[in-house]
């Protein structure tokens, strides 16, 4: 008994199965690409071809005459991309060290502050770079920093970032305070993710600063500034969203934890 050919027009299995499949596909196309889109006047398609192209997924921006509302305060102009300044060479670090001489008064000779200004040693380069740039454009206001960064070029800022990133971080004093709830868990229904999800204890996020060992007064001030919108150089309000929802006790607990942690 020899097998009949499957791929033949005489084979009814062949013609029927292909016919049914093609019919379903055809109906699906006609309904999904033509009938349904054109039945929605609110989509404002310019005719059948426009509807078909949109249903297929071709790029098609709806026309809008609406004006974009711009901010009446400067916002950051920096794009943050993961790992964007990770590879620095010795030349860049050396140049950064020279440039950093002007910073030692507040930020210490080795990037560790004696005053209440932030420690910069071991900070992520993208963080240093972004803050310098934001000071320069005015996105982050500071009477002290603004004149100091006025003459820095983008390349200078990258060198400074490389230098401070290269300096060793403050070492762990082994106090081992347990994480307060706000750092480990946040407050979900107030929209606060764990601080540690971005700032290092639990996870990391590009552009989020290394906070451990920063002066408590500095952390406190910054959180309050974010909460009040006095500081607004965080991209898309990501830090303001969090700080606004924090209670004074949580701001206190988080600042203390990070200040005392190393």
């Amino acid at each position: 008994m020899s097998e009949e050919r499957v791929a033949a027009l005489r084979n009814r299995w062949f013609t029927t199965s292909i016919g049914i499949t093609a019919a379903i596909t055809l109906v699906g196309f006609v309904v999904g690409f033509l009938w349904l889109p054109l039945s929605h006047p609110s989509d404002r398609f310019r005719g059948a071809w426009d509807a078909i192209c949109s249903a297929a997924g071709l790029l098609n921006k709806p026309s809008s005459s609406e004006q974009i509302v711009t901010a009446n305060y400067p916002t950051t102009r920096v794009e943050v991309i993961p790992h964007m300044l990770d590879s620095a060479d010795a030349v860049s670090i050396g140049r950064g060290a020279t440039l950093a001489l002007r910073c030692t008064m507040c930020h210490g000779a080795r990037g560790l502050s004696q005053a209440n200004s932030p420690n910069l040693a071991g900070q992520y380069p993208i963080v240093i770079y972004k803050q310098l740039m934001d000071f320069k454009t005015g996105a982050r206001g500071s009477a002290v920093m603004a004149p100091l960064v006025a003459d820095l070029t983008a390349s200078d800022m990258r060198d400074l970032a490389a230098y401070y990133a290269y300096l060793p971080r403050i070492t762990d004093s082994g106090t081992g305070r347990s994480m307060p709830r706000i750092v480990a868990s946040g407050a979900p229904l107030r929209g606060i993710a764990p601080c540690g999800a971005c700032h290092g204890e639990v996870g990391a996020k590009a552009g989020a600063a290394w906070l451990e060992g920063q002066p408590v007064a500095y952390l406190h001030t910054q959180l309050e500034a974010f909460a009040s919108n006095a500081r607004h150089n965080d991209i898309d309000e990501q830090m303001r969203n969090v700080a606004r929802a924090m209670t004074p006790q949580e701001i206190d607990a988080a600042s203390r934890y990070y200040a005392e942690h190393p």
């Binding site: 107030r190 999800a197 639990v202």
Partner: protein, 190 residues
């Protein structure tokens, strides 16, 4: 037992079995055709439809220019009386983190992500979207009654995902319009 196995054809039992089988197959196909037709007509009568257009956007530069800069986010009252709400999802919050919308008004959500995939869901409604970086998600909606609803991120977006919740506050249409005369972009962020 064996007589069931090797009955010679033609055989009334076999024909009967085949008839029953055909009837069931027809019935199965009819069920499916009906279900697909119901879904199609629901789409035709506009209950909920997928977004009509595919639009792209660069997630790295959302904050520099275009409709997703921070001052343009939130709810805008359009000239035709409808409301457009623009929202960004990012690790790990929505901006604005409290969305203000009026009752009884056609609302268009335009949303995107600044980093990874997020999900947008308003509890107790069928408002449900994926935010995929690189693309703009849009959805039409309408709220009947004032109130406040939770708006969790429903797609795993990293280790802080469990903390990514926002709110939607629905206010009376008149109150919303009054607010909109004073500010061009509204939210309930305090």
């Amino acid at each position: 037992m064996t007589d069931l196995v090797s009955q010679p054809a033609p055989d009334p039992a076999a024909e009967h079995a085949e008839r029953v089988e055909h009837r069931w197959a027809t019935f199965a196909v009819a069920i499916i055709v009906l279900l697909v037709a119901v879904a199609t007509f629901a789409a035709f009568y506009h209950t909920a439809v997928p977004q009509a257009r595919v639009e792209t956007v660069n997630p790295r530069t959302l904050h520099l220019a275009g409709e997703f800069i921070e001052s343009n986010l939130g709810s805008a009252l359009d000239a035709d009386g409808s409301v457009t709400v623009r929202v960004i999802g990012e690790q790990y919050s929505f901006t604005p983190s409290c969305i203000l919308v009026p009752t009884d008004t056609p609302i268009t959500f335009r949303m995107t992500s600044a980093d990874v995939v997020h999900g947008f869901l308003v509890d107790g409604t069928n408002i449900n979207l994926m935010l995929v970086p690189g693309y703009i998600s849009s959805l039409g909606a309408r709220f009947d009654a004032p109130g406040e609803r939770l708006m969790p991120c429903h797609e795993f977006c990293g280790v802080g995902h469990e903390g990514m919740w926002a709110r939607v506050r629905i206010v009376d249409k008149a109150a919303f319009v009054a607010l909109a005369t004073r500010r061009r972009r509204l939210s309930c962020v305090e």
